[in-house]
Symmetry: D2
């Protein structure tokens, strides 16, 4: 019963096969010049329905923060949601990679960063350059840290407003596959066609080992990017590891299929949790994460019985959500490797 | 006939098996808290005969530059050889990771950075703080970029002098296994016991996929290191990839055995090259690399016939080495995957 | 009628005399080793009633951000008020000087950052190192950006809580003299004795030309500081300029006397403004700044009639303060050079 | 007998008058928007015979390093002479301001960085991006740290070659006035017209207090510069201090006249020194600095008798210059405030 994090799951068989095959296939060019990386970039272009420049990396923090470094000067700011992984779980990596640009985290009623939130934020931003910081970019997470999914319209409206103000739009797609599965749309519709300029695309959380990519739809922004990757120590020598994973992950939408599975398990789990009289869901369950509020004692019981899940930050709750005495927020994440039996086991525990 | 680089070779079977097993083994803790990383750290402690703190990474640049960031303040300097990989092939990553510390590359007669070189360098270093930079550390590469191997006495003398001046000693061990194989000594003798404070240990160049470690013998220096790793985006989520590789690489000195093989092939290749009337060796061949000086036309012939090897920087030649008209330096690197047939094929080509 | 900023005023006669005398007095040591700087450091020690280490600089941004760089590692955070000059008017200098540490701006009901605000902030701070940032320091501004003055008890309570959590306390004293004048206490009582570890002390806003200092009460924190100053290009060669200003500013509490004058003018101005039916004061006037809310049209009239003052950020208003249609916040700053006639002139304008 | 440094001299009367007048003249705009700064920029445009963008600063380190930050990306390099002040006396400020770009210090036979030196350096620079660093700019010091003066032809040849390779040319003009005086040419001829893109112009070393400027001849490079200045804490609030100094310094070539005086004193001093049987000049004396090699004992005698001058780095001697047992290099700097009597006193001492 592991709902700790989708990054604790293992690696899917097709992806592992691809790694194995690439590793065992003798000499190959290094530093991204191998055939797997080249093929993966082409597959991404096909997936997104337009030319892309793709850079393959091993961590989501590197993908996010390298991407931002291509968007913001060190004296500029990047607007994001207050719960953005960028802002809460990546140490000061955004500052490190950008050379000192600043995040402007915004708390919102909806749990997403919508066009109206951006509008309000920009309107309130003091403007007395060079004393104040101007905004250079907006970053959203799809699916979001609270498990919500931005609609195509929401992303399009946000990108339109951002572009109108000269800002670029970055999408943290560590769990983009879950959003694609949830929306049932093409990858292109919710990214490039919705106005995203740069995407951090994660495969690690839906079946891959350690495979992340920065995908530029706005190709001009990719200028200099290889220098940024290199000097951050993120240019893998045996880059076939990364290219091979993406090839397999993209093949027949394997990654999205696994994400769809995770989403389905999350729905089942949500129903099971919701059925318990002492448990409330904090956010609608739209992708692979379930945020539940429950008594501390109940969490302790679950943990003791072998359910892996984490107590979460109260600041992650919807604005105005009232936490009763003795309650706390708990995060459950379903993964490609979760199965119905695990949910059933939780149900049984809760029925005791 | 691939002598391009040992990072173009594939992955050895035992290491690939270990990756496969780790990936297929279900859920596991992430971010270095998995059993493979814990086991690998313990195996390293055994290997080096003393307690260590080890951090597992995917690239040598990250290992080197993160290590330096633990040694030098941003207003200090790190002394290294003029041909150090750090100084020549890692972009400005040293500056990026250290927050702006400076490398002081030193050209030497021997091709290594010996105690006498350090002594001379320190004597000449202007000292008018805070206007001038003081040296905080020395970094050497073992085996070196020119294929030379430091003796135990050389490293010990260097560390003694460094410590006497309050400097720490870093060793770039991207090819440490080749040096261990060449010296026939224990790993401890040429590192911790010879006074090395921090080691960048590379497995990628002798059989692993992408597996590097920063190994602290001076445990106090490891303080804060996890923060440095995290904010540089180098904390892998599914860290089992890294731990598993090191476990297999260390098991029965598998990595050193492969390095020994590479060294042996390099010796054979050196003999073949040296036998040719138009080829001179630039440096004695002590580990896995062969630096030959040859006519441009001959290199072109070899390349055309399928020999992969690179023309190299004239600045890498021994001081005073005279390059004749039409000659250029060429680097050949043997790897765990090189075989005698490849050397034989080169020999045949050269005999035409 | 200039109430634009106290940094638009000229230089007081005693300070100008001191500059002139120092400049005209022939050769002198440079880089802070001159007698004026030495004397100024000693005078500061006397003023604050304990040994100090003082570094003299030309700008408040440099003083603040260099001070923070001595307190926080690049992967740590500094808690400050949401309206802190640091956070709103110094570009991304805090990130630049600290190598990427993060400000955590806190909005408060009182307009100051009090112990209870710190307590709440620390309690809510996610703690999952190395993914999250830990707080290293607290920074408050005295007198604050909204013109409020922290009491000795408030600073003492804040420092006690900060120290209890292992945090250092920095005070941005760009207008400390105004606070000292308002409190009528000794400089020591509201700084060193109230638990401040490092002070940015500004003289420029009360009569000096460009003279700021970083004053360490916690002497251990001054280690390495000269390196930070030098590599930021803030070590003036003819440092006598800085030492001489501080000597004169401290002499007979000249700076505080001028600040007291500014405070008095601000009180008069506040009364004049408050008497107008369309003007409300946003904050109590405790030092030299007056924040008034007035109709845009009225501000336009004043500006046209030659009153210099600036419309200000709505975000600077007290939480819950309701801005009516057509109103906006306006900042007036009195300086050592302001005089009663200017206030009278404003009064006359408002009575029309 | 102070020949320690021209930054130990006081301030000339016209400049001091200008400071006094500006300080005493009531309210003025701050942050560079005052009339003195505006006037100074216009005077610089007149001086250099073309439009310029000028930014006024207090230190030479800030001027140099901010200028470089506008020329080089963090993953690029700046070529300079091995004795450049930038490389030897400004801590790691170049790295700090540029975000980690690297200096490539070049030792030369002539003591200057000439076109042929640049050509050789560029030819030897390894080029394997993104692993290696490409050069973005060249920086020379005029007059140089060893007291030599670049001719117009030398600068023109260097800039032509630099531009041909896509590199910008920066001139560290901390002592540009001495070079102008020595060459007897217009300021424009040796800077803008000779192909300099950005100039650090120092007034502090020839009569001003603390007044340096970054002067852009290539106006496009000035984009964003105010942000760089601000976030480095170098935007003075009462900027009139800086503008006023430059106005007076430029007026009737006051600064150049003072530099000419310093040059003349240096010539006299050189003759006095050279006449002594135990003293040799290390470099021809072309501007205001005299580098002499003398016995340690003789230096001690001079110092004891009140002559201020500094023993200097042996690495500053011309390549191949042989230092005899017991000898050391000594630097003497003449300033605007030096007088013939001081030289005479040295002569008397040496004749004993």
């Amino acid at each position: 019963m592991n709902f700790g994090s989708d990054n604790q799951a293992g690696v899917s068989a097709p992806i592992l096969d691809a790694i194995t095959e690439a590793c065992a296939s003798g000499v190959a060019s290094s530093y991204g010049n191998d055939v797997w990386c080249q093929r993966a970039e082409q597959q991404l272009a096909d997936w997104f329905g337009q030319p892309v420049r793709a850079f393959f990396l091993t961590t989501g923090t590197a993908a996010n923060c390298l991407a931002l470094s291509a968007l913001a000067q060190p004296w500029q700011a990047v607007i994001c949601h207050a719960q953005a992984h960028l802002a809460t779980d990546e140490s000061s990596a955004p500052e490190f990679f950008t050379g000192g640009a600043r995040l402007l985290p915004v708390q919102t009623a909806s749990g997403k960063l919508l066009a109206k939130d951006l509008e309000r934020t920009l309107a309130q931003l003091p403007s007395a350059p060079p004393h104040t910081l101007s905004a250079a970019a907006v970053s959203i997470t799809q699916s979001a840290e609270n498990g919500l999914v931005y609609s195509i319209d929401e992303v399009s409206a946000l990108s339109a407003l951002a572009h109108q103000h000269g800002l670029h739009l970055h999408m943290d797609g560590a769990r983009l596959a879950n959003a694609i599965a949830a929306l049932g749309c093409s990858p292109a519709r919710i990214t490039a066609q919705a106005g995203v300029d740069v995407l951090s695309l994660g495969a690690s959380k839906s079946g891959a080992l350690n495979a992340e990519a920065v995908v530029f739809f706005n190709l001009e922004l990719a200028r200099h990017f290889e220098h940024r990757v290199k000097r951050a120590g993120h240019m893998a020598s045996k880059s076939r590891l990364l290219g091979a994973q993406f090839c397999a992950w993209l093949q027949n939408d394997h990654g999205v299929a696994m994400a769809a599975h995770a989403n389905a398990v999350a729905q089942q789990l949500a129903q099971v949790l919701q059925a318990h009289p002492s448990i409330r869901l904090a956010w609608p369950v739209q992708a692979s994460q379930v945020f539940a509020v429950m008594p501390t004692a109940l969490l302790a019981q679950l943990n003791e019985a072998g359910v892996q899940c984490y107590d979460w930050y109260p600041s992650s709750l919807p604005p105005g959500f009232e936490l009763h005495e003795g309650e706390l927020p708990v995060r459950f994440v379903a993964s490609w490797a979760s199965d119905a039996a695990e949910v059933q086991a939780v149900a049984t525990l809760l029925q005791r």
